[in-house]
């Protein structure tokens, strides 16, 4: 007997499977992806006596069919990796539907332990379950009562795992009887499969026979590819005989029989209350999905979520930005100084390439922290399913799912968390399409561009430009969703919406925190490479001279660098849109690093203001101690401001009502400093006029430029997020599509405006 073995954890969604996983493995877990898939794979280890046990958390599924990726992953793992056993987590308050998965696990002839979870909830709803009787009726497989979120029953579960693994004779897995005429056909098919050595080694013959009769696409596909035509033919004939004989297809008959088997098991082991008790969950639901109140409550919650990702995260984000650009950069310069390489290209690479890149990753941590906190609470509480229930009708217009609304809303704050927020969707296609569309929700970093241009070209009507950009973004998302649904997904069979509305639960801090931590550490691991590479490449482009003095590497004016000449080369592309100067193009290119940079770059190239004041020149007596002090007090302030922003959600929300104004809290007396950008505004008007030819044309070109900024390729962090979630190909599609549609829209605006006589 080896001192190490693998077990798998299976169960329906919303049954507390992850609480069992966490209780078993503690902190010894690792999150990754299933090979070649975007589905998350969690693995952990636990010790029982002298045994080291690897626990693999299978995706939460209701069944083991071939129709969903998660289900294929789960059963492939059981078939191919042959774990020593499967622990099936069963929601005690909903035994029938949960046991359906157990029935299918039994068909796979893998040893099964049932963890009857949340038995406390079942009791509170008046359900009585006799675990011993349940075990007996399931043919003697162990049944252990657990309460995962309070770690109750975990020791008993471990003991059961140990006993089953060390048992001399693994015992017989109970079989479900499918009755006539199915049973005879299964037997015959099974016998034929057993003749084939390769097949019977790979699959359990009876399971394969059942799957073939169900006409399971995945299994038949694999057999067809493996040249097993005769078995497939026999199976097809058998299925036809069943249909002729009973008038129903084998798939239906088999599902019916499984539920009959479950009915028998449950009837003797579960006592339901005679009258249904109205639970607290039912009462909450009456309000939350109310005909009138449902939508306003949903919108309010989304607004709060948006506030969390967009505003509450800002103080910590600023703090991290300040620490990276201030003290950390100063320290790095000081170290480089002592190494005697100050002022060289190496120092510049470290400061402008590497530190800036890493800082670019780190500043997203607060945003993602608040996003994942909010999402974990919405998910664990059971509200997410209700959100989908309330919004499905609207989102379907775009070919999306009710759950797609939440990521779209987050997208108005920042595209990066929006892409990750699509994880709430189960279906891969829905996830991809939703993530694809979130980039058109104008993110917070694009806003300054509209504000500066609005003030420069439209004076006191500046707000109109901003409003028009938000509307255009939503319209583009609607259009894109419609096109993708009608053209790209045209031949896709309809995906089931069929959604369980789980009972409301109070989220536990441990579970919420674990989700936040897992997601953020994954982001740090995966996004860093792309972002670091991008910022080094941009730095290099800016440092390489192409005109003028050839020796001036790392010491060139932007227009003489490769960056400048690249911008100059690309610029004519924007001729039809009216803004073909290398300066605007350069601003757009740097906007790929982060949309916040667009206005900064424009300041640099139009006004000639050195935006990056060289740090480290302050004459401090003890710079190190001052820096540490700055970091600490800065953090303290950031925490206070974060709390303030949470409080400020209330006035911001109430102030939406016309005629109401509650002042926002300002605990640290930080009046909004207005950025003095009037010089930039003047320079912009002059420059756009010059490029386009006349004041009116210049204004039109400015609008076209804003349209382009709204729609074009999101920042590199968002692109990295897309790659992490959906792979390089989807990332490429997105880059090409966004660049294309942005250009097209900008040209339409400019040329259309000219035709209408606006220029």
């Amino acid at each position: 007997m080896p001192l190490s073995f693998t077990i798998a954890l299976a169960g329906n969604p919303n049954v507390g499977k992850s609480t069992i996983f966490n209780a078993l493995t503690g902190t010894r877990q690792h999150v990754g992806n299933w090979p070649g898939k975007t589905v998350e794979k969690k693995e952990g280890t636990t010790r029982i006596n002298d045994y080291e046990i690897v626990v693999v958390d299978l995706p939460g599924t209701y069944s083991l069919t071939a129709y969903s990726l998660e289900e294929v992953i789960a059963r492939d793992f059981i078939v191919n990796e042959k774990p020593s056993m499967v622990v099936a987590v069963v929601d005690a308050s909903n035994p029938e539907r949960n046991l359906y998965l157990v029935a299918q696990l039994l068909e796979l002839e893998v040893p099964v332990i049932v963890a009857l979870n949340m038995s406390d909830v079942a009791h509170s709803r008046g359900l009585k379950i006799d675990a011993q009787e349940l075990s007996k009726r399931l043919g003697g497989i162990p049944v252990v009562e657990t309460i995962g979120n309070r770690s109750v029953g975990i020791d008993k579960l471990k003991r059961a795992i140990f006993e089953l693994a060390t048992r001399e004779h693994p015992g017989i897995v109970p079989q479900i009887a499918y009755g006539d005429p199915l049973e005879a056909e299964i037997d015959a098919l099974q016998a034929e499969i057993e003749q084939d050595e390769l097949l019977s080694q790979t699959y359990h013959p009876r399971w394969l026979a059942i799957k073939l009769l169900e006409e399971d696409e995945d299994v038949t596909g694999r057999l067809a590819a493996g040249d097993h035509e005769t078995v497939l033919l026999t199976a097809r004939q058998a299925a036809q005989r069943i249909l002729d004989c009973t008038g129903e297809d084998a798939e239906t008959l088999i599902a019916n029989r499984r539920y009959m088997f479950i009915g028998d098991v449950v009837s003797g082991a579960v006592v339901r209350p005679t009258t249904a008790v109205e639970t607290r969950s039912d009462k909450i639901d009456k309000v939350v999905t109310h005909r009138v109140w449902g939508v306003p409550i949903f919108l309010l919650l989304m607004w709060i979520l948006f506030q969390f990702t967009a505003n509450v995260s800002t103080p910590l984000l600023d703090w991290i930005g300040g620490v990276v650009n201030g003290p950390i950069t100063r320290w790095a310069l000081a170290i480089l100084d002592t190494l005697g390489v100050e002022g060289t290209w190496l120092a510049a690479l470290v400061v402008d390439g590497i530190i800036a890149g890493v800082g670019g990753v780190l500043i997203f941590v607060p945003v993602l922290l608040f996003l994942y906190l909010a999402v974990a609470v919405l998910e664990d509480s059971g509200y997410m399913a209700r959100a989908a229930f309330v919004m499905d009708r609207v989102m379907r217009l775009m070919g999306l799912h009710g759950k797609s609304f939440m990521p779209m809303m987050v997208g108005f704050g920042c595209t990066v968390p929006a892409v990750y927020a699509t994880r709430a969707l189960e279906n891969e296609d829905d996830r991809k399409l939703t993530a694809f569309l979130t980039t058109f929700m104008s993110c917070g970093a694009r806003l300054p561009v509209y504000v500066v241009f609005g003030a420069a070209f439209f004076g006191d009507k500046a707000g109109n430009l901003t409003f028009a950009m938000y509307v255009l973004g939503i319209a583009t998302a609607l259009f894109t969703g419609f096109v993708i649904k009608r053209i790209v997904y045209r031949n896709k069979p309809p995906q089931p919406f069929v959604l369980e509305l789980p009972p409301y639960r109070l989220p536990t801090p441990t579970s919420v925190w674990l989700q936040v931590w897992e997601n953020i550490s994954e982001f740090l691991q995966k996004a860093t490479t792309v972002i670091l590479a991008c910022s080094i490449v941009i730095w290099l482009l800016l440092a390489l001279p192409i005109n003028g003095d050839a020796d001036s590497f790392n010491n060139v004016q932007p227009q003489d660098s490769v960056f400048g000449s690249l911008a100059g080369t690309i610029a004519p592309v924007f001729g039809p849109a009216g803004f073909d100067s290398w300066r605007t193009t350069g601003a757009l290119i740097s906007g790929f690093i982060a949309k916040e940079v667009v206005v900064g770059t424009m300041n640099q190239v139009y006004v000639g203001e050195a935006a990056s004041s060289t740090p480290g020149e302050a004459d401090k007596t003890n710079p190190f101690r001052d820096d540490v002090g700055e970091i600490v007090t800065g953090f303290g302030d950031a925490v206070i401001l974060t709390a303030q922003e949470i409080v400020n959600i209330v006035p911001r929300t109430v102030n939406i009502i016309p005629g109401v104004h509650i002042p926002e809290a300002d605990w640290l007396n930080q009046q909004e400093e207005k950025v003095g950008s009037s010089r930039l505004e003047g320079a912009l008007v002059a420059a756009f006029e010059r490029t386009a030819g006349s004041p009116d044309k210049g204004r039109l070109a400015a609008v076209a430029f804003n349209v382009f900024v709204l729609l074009y390729v999101p920042c590199m962090t968002a692109v990295a997020a897309m790659r992490q979630e959906f792979g390089t190909r989807w990332m490429a599609y997105q880059i090409v599509y966004t660049a294309g549609i942005a250009w097209l829209a900008a040209v339409i605006v400019y040329q259309g405006g000219l035709l209408l006589g606006l220029g």
């Binding site: 209701y62 539907r97 499905d392 309809p494």
Partner: protein, 79 residues
Amino acid sequence: MIIAQTTLDQLTPGQRARVKRIAGKGAVRRRLMDMGVIRGVEIEVVKVAPMGDPIEYLLRGYHLSLRRSEAQMIEIEDR
């Protein structure tokens, strides 16, 4: 002769019915069966979403939300 079949989407909140069969095929039908919507099971309409679709049902002691188009696939026994 075509006889109009009563389907689940025609019920109003509070009404119950037993399932006769699921029409159609493919992923949606399969998912419905996996969720326990099979012949003979009793389903109650709980409520309709604010915008008229989807609809919340109660079966086997749990709540399930279906789009109207999905409920239309479920044929029910006449009472």
